[in-house]
């Protein structure tokens, strides 16, 4: 069973964000890059499913040449193959991204998908458009479920679960299928130093994406890092001595007791 995890290179998600002077991008001059957390789980799941069902796991990304770094992370996690659809680094919008990924994921003659299971992060950490997976699935005519927090493969059926209030919804998808996964699905492995060294030597497949152009759509005007309007908290006291003040607050002001 062959799996593909689609990943995106994003600025280090734990870092403090500042914007470039023209307010068009995150200033990455002092930032590292990473794979979005949901997508890290997609890579882990792709590897586990391929291992358990005797297949290959591929990591696929559309992005700048530097995206090799994230693809190598995938290889170091023991994915079998990596492919980069290299762009000039400019941010592509979801329709164009999805059309290009879909082209790369089907063979030339028709829209036969070249995978059994396709995994996306539910949304990317940076732009969070919530739609690339759905659009790829629609183009390839395969079923898709978003928000997946548990996945099992049983006899060419993907059993995908999604958390809802009070429980989980269970979906059964005939393979080939695609899913958008969320953090919590699994615990992504740390790549060992040895695996990282090996991954450096592995070759990465490259394709020049032939992008379908779309008219109109959604155009970014500028980004804004909202000023935090918060001030300092009202300190009720130090240590256990503060407890009477806390009780007063809970009882009189907040009325939660």
């Amino acid at each position: 069973m062959d799996t593909v995890a689609c990943i995106k290179r994003v600025p280090d998600t734990g870092a403090k964000i500042t914007l470039t002077d023209d307010e068009q991008e995150i200033d990455t001059s002092h930032l590292g890059f990473t794979i979005s957390p949901h997508e890290e789980c997609a890579v882990e799941e792709a590897i586990q499913v391929a291992d358990d069902h005797d297949g290959t796991a591929t990591v696929l990304s559309l992005g700048s040449a530097d995206t090799e770094e994230q693809l190598r992370t995938g290889l170091a996690m023991t994915a079998d193959e990596a492919t980069l659809l290299e762009t000039d680094g400019e941010e592509w919008r979801p329709r164009k991204t999805a059309a290009t990924l879909a082209d790369a994921l089907s063979d030339d003659s028709d829209t036969n998908p070249e995978f059994d299971l396709l995994l996306f992060g539910n949304e990317s950490a940076d732009v969070a458009n919530h739609q690339v997976g759905v659009r790829v699935a629609e183009r390839l005519d395969v079923p898709f479920v978003a928000g997946v927090s548990d996945l099992a493969i049983e006899d060419w059926t993907a059993v995908a679960k999604r958390d809802v209030t009070g429980g989980t919804e269970v979906y059964e998808l005939d393979l080939p299928a695609a899913v958008g996964v969320k953090e919590g699905l699994n615990l992504p492995r740390y790549a060992s130093m040895r695996a990282k060294m090996q991954a450096r030597k592995q070759s990465i497949g490259r394709q020049d994406p032939v992008a379908v152009e779309f008219d109109g759509g959604i155009e970014k005007v500028r980004l804004e890092a909202p000023e935090s309007t918060e001030g300092a908290a009202e300190v009720l006291g130090e240590g256990p001595d503060a407890v009477p003040a806390v009780v007063d607050l809970l009882r009189d002001d907040l009325e939660v007791i």
Partner: protein, 322 residues
């Protein structure tokens, strides 16, 4: 027409759909367009009445027994067919898993762009809008084109408000022609969690524990505190990654978004990804040993101290209050 996708449970609209309706109503008022809704599943007088309270003039009820169970592609195909027969300026959906998923399918089927998690929208030929990025810590200002415009409302950003002059809501049955293949993705079954307590997303009081809690056993104190405040316990990603709490408990960008009356953050530093999940809280009380921790700028109230000393003492005091 401004069309809103309304999710409902047995006729009672979901809070997130009422939020989306608030955004839709702003758009309909600004453009003098009618405010309408699309709903799936069995008709209910309660739903009609409640939507009337929110100013909905017409509900397009999609009638097909197969649609009583959620099926994203069939929902999207129905909406796409409805768009073919109506003059719709915009479709607004709630920024829930379902809302995003269905609208993205509509976008794919009709080859239209979609703007997810909008915060503010100004109607015009092209819509000027702002939307959440980076888990809510960045705002993107953007222009959205499309006929119609597709957008989802960021959760917890719009407060549902009823209208004073309630309209009589008309129900318009809509029968899409749906092939069997549109139902290939559908909820097969629902597994109840069996948990009796309040869920994190709905709790009025949440007691969160972070790395400062130190061990899984030490969450007992937080459980006791949560219990006496009729609340529930949550955690930071650091605590979840340590394996002290299940991921279901995680609050934040990649966890649950909460909106309680009170959030008590114990041993949590207040990283932006965590705060994204609890900024819907009306009040935040931080208990932290570090007076310089980021949470001290973001909380409303704070106790500077060791949670292992403060929380048990607080539990005793609350027990005495009874």
């Amino acid at each position: 027409m401004i069309l809103t996708l309304v999710e409902h449970a047995g006729g009672s609209p979901e809070e997130s759909s009422l939020e989306a309706l608030t955004l839709a109503r702003e758009l309909s008022t600004a453009t003098d367009a009618s405010l309408e809704a699309v709903a799936f599943g069995a008709e209910s007088a309660a739903l009609r009445e409640e939507l009337g309270d929110y100013g909905i003039e017409t509900v397009h009820r999609v009638a097909d027994d197969r649609l009583d169970t959620y099926a994203p592609e069939a929902w999207a195909e129905s909406i796409a067919q409805l768009l073919d027969t109506t003059d719709t300026d915009a479709v607004v959906a709630p920024g829930t898993d379902r809302g995003q998923e269905v609208l993205a399918h509509v976008g794919a089927k009709c080859d239209l762009p979609m703007a997810a998690n909008c915060l503010d929208v100004e109607a015009g030929d092209v819509y000027e809008l702002s939307r959440q990025r980076w888990g809510g810590s960045l705002v993107e200002h953007a222009r959205l084109d499309g006929d119609p415009k597709l957008l989802t409302a960021a959760p917890h950003e719009f407060s549902p408000e009823t209208v004073t002059a309630t309209a009589e809501t008309a129900v318009q049955p809509f029968e899409p022609s749906l092939e069997e293949s549109a139902f290939r993705v559908t909820v097969d079954r629902v597994e109840e969690s069996g948990e009796t307590g309040v869920s994190l997303g709905e709790a009025r009081v949440v007691v969160g524990g972070g790395r400062g809690v130190g061990s899984p056993e030490d969450y007992d104190k937080l459980e006791t505190l949560a219990e006496s405040l009729s609340g529930t316990v949550g955690a930071s990603r650091a605590a979840v990654n340590e394996g002290w709490r299940p991921h279901d408990d995680q609050i934040g960008q990649t966890g649950t978004k909460i909106s309680p009356d009170l959030y008590v953050a114990c041993g949590i530093s207040g990283a932006v990804q965590h705060m994204v999940g609890c900024k819907g809280a009306d009040n935040i009380l931080a208990i932290n040993t570090d007076p310089e921790a980021a949470i001290m700028q973001k909380a409303d109230y704070a106790v500077v101290g060791d949670l292992h000393e403060v929380v048990p003492e607080l539990n005793d005091a609350l027990a005495n209050e009874r």
